[in-house]
């Protein structure tokens, strides 16, 4: 990987029940993620994705870019923005920011319909 290179895009469309599976897997049962009625009552367009689920997709994209070994991901820092919705495609993209020895820093973002749901994500991987 060289400075300015794009990493392969990761595209995932979480199905309607993904937030329920992620709630079970992670233990985060906040009703804004799994109860559409509750979510709309508090002013959200629908039940929304867990931010840490979207962060897991960003982690996957960076591990894949580094060759697929999870041990190559050393650091990941993200800011959550907007809200992710089920049944809409998520696109994770990234650009190599710097390369120092075997340490590569990748600027990453996750978008849905062109709007950022994760921005200013910075991953450090070994390659």
């Amino acid at each position: 990987m060289n400075e300015g290179d794009s990493i392969p895009e990761l595209k995932v469309t979480p199905d309607r029940f993904l937030p329920h599976r992620y709630a079970g897997a992670s233990g985060d049962f906040n009703p804004i993620h799994i109860d559409k009625e509750f979510a709309t009552q508090v002013g959200l367009p629908s039940n929304i994705l867990h931010g840490l689920y979207s962060m897991a997709l960003v982690a996957r994209a960076n591990v894949a870019a580094a060759g697929g070994d999870p041990r190559s991901l050393k650091r990941l820092s993200v800011q959550f923005r907007g809200m992710g919705l089920p049944e809409q495609e998520i696109v994770v993209s990234g650009t190599v920011k710097s390369v120092e020895g075997d340490r590569v820093v990748i600027d990453t973002r996750a978008e849905q319909s062109g709007k950022a749901i994760i921005k200013n994500a910075e991953a450090e991987v070994t390659a």
Binding site: G24, I32, G43, L44, G51, L52, A56, R60, L73, S77
Partner: protein, 163 residues
């Protein structure tokens, strides 16, 4: 995870009163035993498809002691340590206005099925910026050998009450 985030320019001037006395406070360690089936459940939820997360032989062939946890499984074993400071009245987070603003993990030794992970949390910072309250927690997780497996920085933002 930014429900109801204020639109640009809509942030009200009334500041969120933050009490910084809990800065530096720590909590008793939270222990979590990592199981192979929990790793499988998590890996399926985030659609990891590498056989190392599902098949012990594949994991061993790749040099792991046992089935490894995907990196973001960190939220599963360290998340339980974040509850006490989140709900600590001394920290004083207003849940109605809470958003998860940012997250960082720095990984060390890989976590595998069979590990016991112990996580301690410190209230790293509480401050006010642009009328919002920032509550930053740092978690440090170590395995049964005392090796650090992950260090997490959890940034929670309490929006202005819109007064």
């Amino acid at each position: 995870m930014f429900p109801g985030a204020p639109a640009p320019g809509s942030i009200h001037c009334r500041a969120v009163p933050v009490d910084t006395t809990a800065k530096g406070k720590t909590y008793p360690p939270y222990e979590y035993e990592v199981g192979r089936e929990k790793i499988r459940e998590y890996a399926q939820a985030v659609e990891e498809d590498s056989p190392i997360y599902f098949d012990r032989q594949a994991a061993k062939a790749a040099g792991f002691r046992d089935v490894p946890a995907p990196p973001m499984f960190a939220v599963v074993y360290s998340g339980g340590a974040i509850g006490p400071p989140m709900f600590d009245p001394e920290v004083g987070i207003d849940f109605a206005l809470l958003v998860h603003g940012g997250q960082e993990f720095v990984w060390g030794e890989p976590v595998c099925s069979g590990d016991t992970i112990s996580t301690t949390v410190e209230v790293k910072d509480i401050h006010e910026k642009m009328g919002m309250g920032f509550y930053v927690f740092e978690s440090v997780s170590a395995n049964q050998e005392g090796q650090e497996v992950v260090r997490g920085t959890w940034t929670n933002i309490v929006r202005s009450g819109g007064g």
